[in-house]
Symmetry: C2
Subunit: 293 residues, 2 copies
């Protein structure tokens, strides 16, 4: 779908909220794609999905300081609003909400939305405060952009669980829609952080999706979870990727699966570091019918 | 103002939200009074204020388990929905939102809204988790009852600061209105917990407002803050009230005041225990013009 007119860039939450409410009062369903900018085809796939569901689409662009740790890449995270607007131009986006930090976080702000449960393992352990930063900004964004549905990429699987948990627990009146990961032709999941990779690292990085595809194949053949996990780690290490985790867990809760569990939907999750750059990826593993070896 | 028709009791958040949205779509401003039931004239003063501002008023009645500590009075907290409805009958209340615990907290709920800043001292120190429980339930209630304005009593002064902080930080589109404390003729602030007092304790409890009035007089006469605090504590102790705190701080931040500060609005805050019953109260101290002694 092609945009009829260029999106309006909105800086103030009051104006953003009024525009969304006015569209809803006119009977339009509003879709919302929250982003940190540096948009790629993964983001535009979310926009396309939102536009297919909703006549009015808002995209937010906000690099959220409170979801970055002190040693993380907040300062070097790529920011280019003009390029982002250009990338959105072919798509049906009515509003780009681009607040600055002072609009999102008032002086003396002191509130955090803390999620336990699915926010605790993996990224929660390795990036203390990250998911509180995500949940807090998403909660605030859902007040600034009170859309009917919000669209998130499955690439950040744990994040989607955290957002869904928060929405259910706080009774936020919004549908959370999780959309498929978009990949390069060689399998690498699109990520704004791929821009950090050197040419050799970019080659190495294909090991992430290779490991996940191996896990999917091994899972379908009934291998034991511990064997699947070891094989994923071995593939990453062979590509000189430092493994943060390579695991198979329950898709909805991220809890360990019993070896005999044949019916729970599972997910393979991996995180690894190439030099200064940290990448994550995942692949769904449908309930399997064969017994584990 | 007298109610034209009895309020509708609503149990489900979806229905509650739809009714509020429909009233707003019809151009009506909606006022909201969140309560834990056991309604008294303090609550009905909030309802009266809401009704004077808004043609449509919602009152919620929900004893929120997560704002009580494990040793606190959740189990014995008074609950009588029929009596509460009767007390609201003479007032202009359109809806009573009375969810049960399972409606408010889904299975596996794992989200807390944590406020630092004004939530940290006093009640925050003495009742760990209390304000997270308050902020979480108020945030959720504001999603279930998306009113234009919410009304809180100044008697729970620190709570009003926590709610205002959360509303500002999360960008909740609701006005927080703080209304004066309602008192018995002998000065005791109305509280659902007054019902726990024995007849002799009820007599002792007047010392709370006596101490606050003394503080106000001492403040106006320019006494030093430490002297004012000691005198409040002495009045409470003379009435055999175990003092949790008796303090004078900045009204907006609850931070200590410099002895030479003449311009900051202050507040006297006290908390004390009579047997098993814990009571709090406060009194505003306007900026004083006289120098401290």
């Amino acid at each position: 779908m092609t945009g009829d007119r260029p999106p309006t860039i909105i800086r103030r939450s009051d104006e953003m909220r009024q525009r969304v409410r006015a569209a809803q009062a006119a009977g339009e369903r509003v879709g919302f794609v929250p982003t940190m900018g540096s948009l790629h085809a993964g983001h535009t796939s979310l926009v396309e999905r939102a536009a297919s569901d909703c006549p009015a689409v808002a995209v937010s662009i906000f690099v959220n300081p409170i979801q970055f740790g002190p040693q993380e890449d907040f300062d070097r995270y790529p920011r280019d609003l003009a390029a982002d607007c250009k990338r959105l131009a072919p798509h049906s986006v009515r509003w780009i909400y681009a607040p600055d930090v002072s609009e999102m976080y008032p002086p003396d702000h002191a509130t955090r939305v803390e999620v336990a449960g699915p926010a605790e393992p993996f990224e929660g352990q390795l990036r203390p405060g990250h998911f509180a930063g995500v949940a807090t900004v998403v909660c605030r964004l859902f007040h600034c952009v009170p859309a009917d549905a919000a669209y998130f990429g499955a690439k950040d699987w744990q994040q989607t669980l955290v957002v869904k948990r928060m929405v259910a627990d706080l009774g936020l009146p919004i549908d959370v829609v999780v959309c498929p990961t978009v990949r390069e032709t060689d399998g690498l999941a699109l990520s704004s952080r791929n821009a950090y990779l050197t040419a050799p690292q970019r080659q190495q990085a294909t090991a992430l999706s290779t490991a996940l595809k191996q896990a999917q194949s091994d899972w379908q053949q009934g291998h034991a979870i511990s064997d699947i996990e070891h094989r994923m780690a071995a593939i990453l290490e062979a590509a000189a990727i430092a493994v943060d985790y390579a695991t198979v867990v329950a898709a909805d809760t991220l809890e360990p699966l019993a070896p005999s569990d044949q019916t729970t939907a599972a997910i393979a999750l991996i995180a690894g570091r190439l030099g200064e750059t940290r990448l994550i990826d995942n692949l769904s593993l449908p309930p399997r019918t064969q017994s584990p070896c």
